[in-house]
């Protein structure tokens, strides 16, 4: 069952997820490939609308009408999740792959106690529980208390009966993480885990996720629009733009020498990561509408290096060791750095 460190755990190939609207099909995710190795932390960066959340909602099988997955393979541990029966998929979803959402206030059910919400996760995925009766209830309760303790909730046994609104924002976020981890998943997808939080609590929550990742030896996909967060916590990074991956590689390399103009733009717009001596500049323009896109580079309209040769479909190309980028301007010198 366990995959040796460094082996691939999740492979997504050619994923295309569309949303049918009155104006046409919106290609929110268009030909995305993802690889997550066991034990690593992958950062996924992009603006809202870049398709980063939709990509991993697709992995979780959470795309609902009017959205649908049009093409692609989602291989977890070698099994194509799209071909699993609903029952088998449910065992993976939540069991092997768990997810946290952006805002715990809306992600936790206001009408159920925290204990219930952790308990049902344990009950759904832990096959080692006693069959029935008080022993089973006690085992679930103990696990729930243990999980709340793990994420740093003080006196957890007293708080199982409380409702989400009785906790502070940071505590709620921890509870959501506790729920996600209660099934001992092998992959945690953390979708914007800190956006809804105060700056001081952001750091604590990210530390918590990193600690637990090391402790449990699981992989983490950290979806964020903040390259700074990725720089601190992720081994590798994947930059998305307008439904496509535009660059990926080891975090340190990508930040030191970004290959795609969009990545460079992103870095230049973040004060603490901007390359020394360069001015902080926001990227001009807006993300294109994802309906009826012409077959050309999607960053064309905003790219400082755009030229007539960009008006054709652009493929991902190798850009150094373990690195790829979707740009025809990648120079051999830079790519070898």
């Amino acid at each position: 069952m366990t995959v040796a460190p460094g082996e691939t755990l999740l492979v997504v190939r050619g994923l295309r997820t569309v949303f049918d609207t009155r104006a046409g099909s919106v290609r929110a995710v268009d030909g995305v490939d993802v690889t997550v190795r066991s034990g690593e932390c992958l950062g996924v960066v992009g603006e809202s609308g870049s398709g980063k959340s939709v990509t991993f909602a697709s992995v979780m099988g959470l795309i609902r009408k009017p959205g649908r997955i049009e093409a692609g393979e989602i291989l977890f541990d070698g099994r194509d999740l799209r071909k699993l029966s609903p029952r088998a998929l449910r065992a993976v979803r939540g069991g092997d792959i768990a997810m946290t959402m952006q805002d715990a206030l809306t992600a936790l059910n206001p009408a159920l106690t925290v204990g219930t919400q952790i308990g049902e996760m344990i009950e759904a995925h832990d096959d080692d529980l006693p069959r029935a009766g008080p022993a089973r209830r006690r085992a679930i309760r103990d696990r729930a208390v243990e999980m709340l303790g793990l994420v740093g909730i003080p006196s957890p046994q007293d708080r199982l009966q409380q409702y989400p609104h009785e906790f502070s924002g940071g505590m709620r976020q921890r509870i959501m993480i506790a729920i996600a981890l209660a099934s001992k998943p092998r992959l945690l997808i953390a979708d914007e885990p800190t956006t809804a939080l105060d700056v001081t609590i952001q750091a604590q929550v990210l530390e918590l996720i990193s600690d637990i990742r090391v402790k449990l030896g699981m992989s983490v996909v950290l979806i964020t629009h903040d390259l700074g967060v990725v720089a601190e916590h992720c081994d590798r990074v994947m930059v998305m733009y307008a439904g496509q991956v535009v660059e990926e590689g080891p975090t340190a390399d990508v930040i030191r020498s970004p290959q795609h103009p969009y990545t460079r733009g992103l870095l230049a717009s973040i004060p603490r990561l901007a390359l020394r001596g360069q001015p902080i500049t926001p990227i001009e323009g807006q993300v294109p509408e994802l309906i009826g896109l012409p077959p050309q580079c999607r960053f064309y309209s905003r790219c400082p290096q755009a030229g007539p040769d960009c008006l054709r479909p652009i493929e991902m190309v190798a850009a150094g060791p373990g690195r790829r980028a979707r740009c025809i301007r990648i120079t051999p010198r830079e790519s070898r750095s």
Binding site: D20, T21, R22, G24, S25, P66
Partner: protein, 299 residues
């Protein structure tokens, strides 16, 4: 359906969008068609003397409980048959539309006027005016509608103007609450503040600045309530507390037929169909109106 068949099948991707658009279109058409139907009922009421084939009050004992035209013993001169006094049911339904629509319109008109005035006063002036009006609204909401109307009718006795009063006494509460709520929001908006700063009078602000901006929810509510009022009037008439015989009113006609349900089902059935059609048409049309005018409330 036939429209869909004539159009060549679209590409698979566009299929669901096409169908959704078609459905939206048809939904709008449904609301539009219902509005036309309401209009037809209104025209029927206005021109009743020209349309009705017979005098709705002319009794004919030889035609007592005569069945509808398509049944044995029917006569195409009396398409929906005759009631226990031999009166033509179709003509009475046509005349009955006058009562339902007149009372419905009158109640809504009176209630909406009072409701707008009271709601504006409560929402804009606040203070003791608001306290008094809101308390009165709370108290009136404490009565089940029909029981309130029945109590009033018992006190005032039957009659056209009494029904209108009995229903309007409580009905105004509904537009009043809508207007008050909208006014509370609108009075804080910048352009109202600006008008106030420029020294406009309170009456001017209420009439010229606030009222035009809260009118669409009021109209939507008025049309929805119209359907309720028509059913309430029919219910009062059914209980014998409405318009008095021999005046043709749908509720009373249904009541008249109760004694004959063993043999002559048509006496009760057709006036009820008329109520259902009119109320249904108003409900569907007002829902379309709501979607168009006040999309906040759309599901």
């Amino acid at each position: 359906m036939s429209v869909a068949e004539q159009i060549p099948a679209p590409a698979p991707v566009a299929d669901s969008i096409f169908r959704r658009n078609l459905r939206t279109f048809m939904e709008n058409r449904l609301a539009f068609g219902s509005a036309i139907m309401v209009l037809l009922f209104v025209l029927m009421a206005i021109f009743a003397p020209l349309i009705a084939p017979h005098d709705p009050y002319a009794t004919d004992l030889f035609r007592r409980l005569q069945p509808p035209a398509w049944m044995e013993g029917g006569d195409w001169a009396f398409p929906l048959g005759c009631d226990a006094l031999g009166r033509d049911i179709l003509s009475r339904i046509i005349y009955g539309a006058r009562i339902s629509i007149f009372i419905g319109a009158a109640v809504i008109l009176v209630a909406t006027t009072i409701g707008i005035l009271a709601g504006l006063a409560a929402g804009y002036l606040r203070g003791w005016v608001d306290v008094v009006i809101s308390r009165l609204v709370d108290i009136l909401l404490g009565f089940p509608y029909l029981i309130f109307a029945i109590g009033l009718m018992a006190m005032m006795g039957p009659g056209l103007s009494n029904i209108i009063l009995a229903l309007a006494y409580k009905e105004w509460v509904i537009p009043c609450r809508v207007v008050r709520g909208e006014t509370l929001v609108t009075r804080e908006l910048e352009y109202v503040e600006a008008a106030r700063a420029l020294g406009a009078s309170r009456w001017h602000i209420m009439r010229k600045e606030i009222l035009p901006n809260i009118l669409s929810p009021v109209i939507v509510v008025a049309t929805i309530r119209m359907a309720h009022v028509i059913i309430l009037e029919a219910s009062l008439s059914f209980l014998g507390l409405g318009v008095q015989p021999p005046t043709a009113s749908w509720g009373a006609m249904v009541a008249d037929g109760r004694a004959f349900i063993l043999e002559s089902w048509w006496v009760s059935t057709f006036p009820g169909v008329a109520i259902l059609l009119l109320v249904l048409a108003i409900n569907v049309a007002s829902q379309g109106l709501r979607d168009a005018f006040d999309p906040r409330f759309t599901e």
